[in-house]
């Protein structure tokens, strides 16, 4: 059986050097490796800011959160601001239980994420 793409991720390079990464669907243990690859690919574009738009993510399990913590570590090492935007209340709740909601920069929308 061929591997099926477990999540759809689109990229956009914005004027000014920011890159947005927009995953679509649910990110659990099965989908996290593809999400991780997409994030690595986004850093490879050498952005001056990485925005992960979570507005189309209905569910995120802790493997997805772990991937974002890893991204934060890359961001810190390379001085590339990382901003999460558009997460729904349930996904935000997961960050709260993990006490990570104050560790990440989070905005409600993309416009905010560009200046956060």
């Amino acid at each position: 059986m061929p591997d099926r793409v477990p999540i759809i991720v689109t990229f956009a390079s914005l004027d000014g050097g920011a890159v947005t990464l927009s995953p679509e669907g649910e990110i659990g243990y099965h989908e996290a490796p593809a999400f991780r690859n997409a994030i690595r690919a986004a850093y490879d574009k050498r952005p001056n800011r990485l925005i992960v738009d979570l507005s189309k993510v209905g569910y995120m399990g802790t493997p997805g959160v772990a991937t974002l913590v890893e991204a934060l570590q890359i961001s810190k090492k390379n001085g590339v601001p990382l901003v999460l935007c558009g997460m729904n209340d349930r996904v935000r709740g997961v960050f709260e239980i993990a006490q990570l909601h104050k560790v990440f920069k989070m905005t409600s929308d993309l416009a905010g994420a560009l200046v956060a």
């Binding site: 243990y29 493997p63 913590v69 239980i97």
Partner: protein, 153 residues
């Protein structure tokens, strides 16, 4: 299927079936009297627990077996509607006391699944099965305290 179990899912330890279990559990929880937000919490707890069985128990071997039993509990005046979910495997046995999340102050990837499970469920009990594998018993009540502060939207 005895002891009041009304729905049981048996799956191989292949992560592509996790989404099937999530959907099934969320729907069962709604049918048994939980709100959409609570049903999402129950589904998440089960998702995290099974992902752990696949990862830590079976070491990502995709042909292990996992059983998920769903039992409605009789409604109670104070605690409301109840659901019990038992997850069993034939994987490596570990001491229940070793199953714990990381220190939340030590920010690094991983170590969060067990925190989520304990936060959203009213009862969480890991134990070794008689011969092989582990058993996890999860219980939630519609009027219970678990998951009230977070993820309740």
């Amino acid at each position: 299927m005895s002891d009041g179990t009304q729905l049981q899912i048996e799956l191989v330890s292949d992560s592509r079936y996790l989404s099937c279990v999530r959907e099934c559990i969320a729907q069962a929880s709604r049918q048994l009297g939980f709100s959409d937000a609570q049903a999402a919490q129950v589904a998440m707890a089960v998702d995290e627990a099974i992902a752990n069985v696949i990862k830590h128990g079976y070491g990502e071997r995709p042909d292990g077996k996992i059983w998920v039993k769903i039992t409605p509990l009789p409604d109670e005046p104070v605690r409301g509607s109840g659901i019990r979910i038992v997850i069993e495997d034939e994987a490596k046995q570990v001491e229940p006391s070793c199953i714990k999340g990381r220190d939340l102050a030590d920010i690094r990837p991983g170590g969060l699944g067990v925190h989520i499970i304990r936060e959203v469920m009213d009862e969480v009990r890991y134990e070794k099965r008689q011969t092989t594998g582990m058993r996890l018993t999860l219980t939630k009540w519609s009027n219970g305290q678990a998951g009230r502060s977070a993820m309740s939207a």
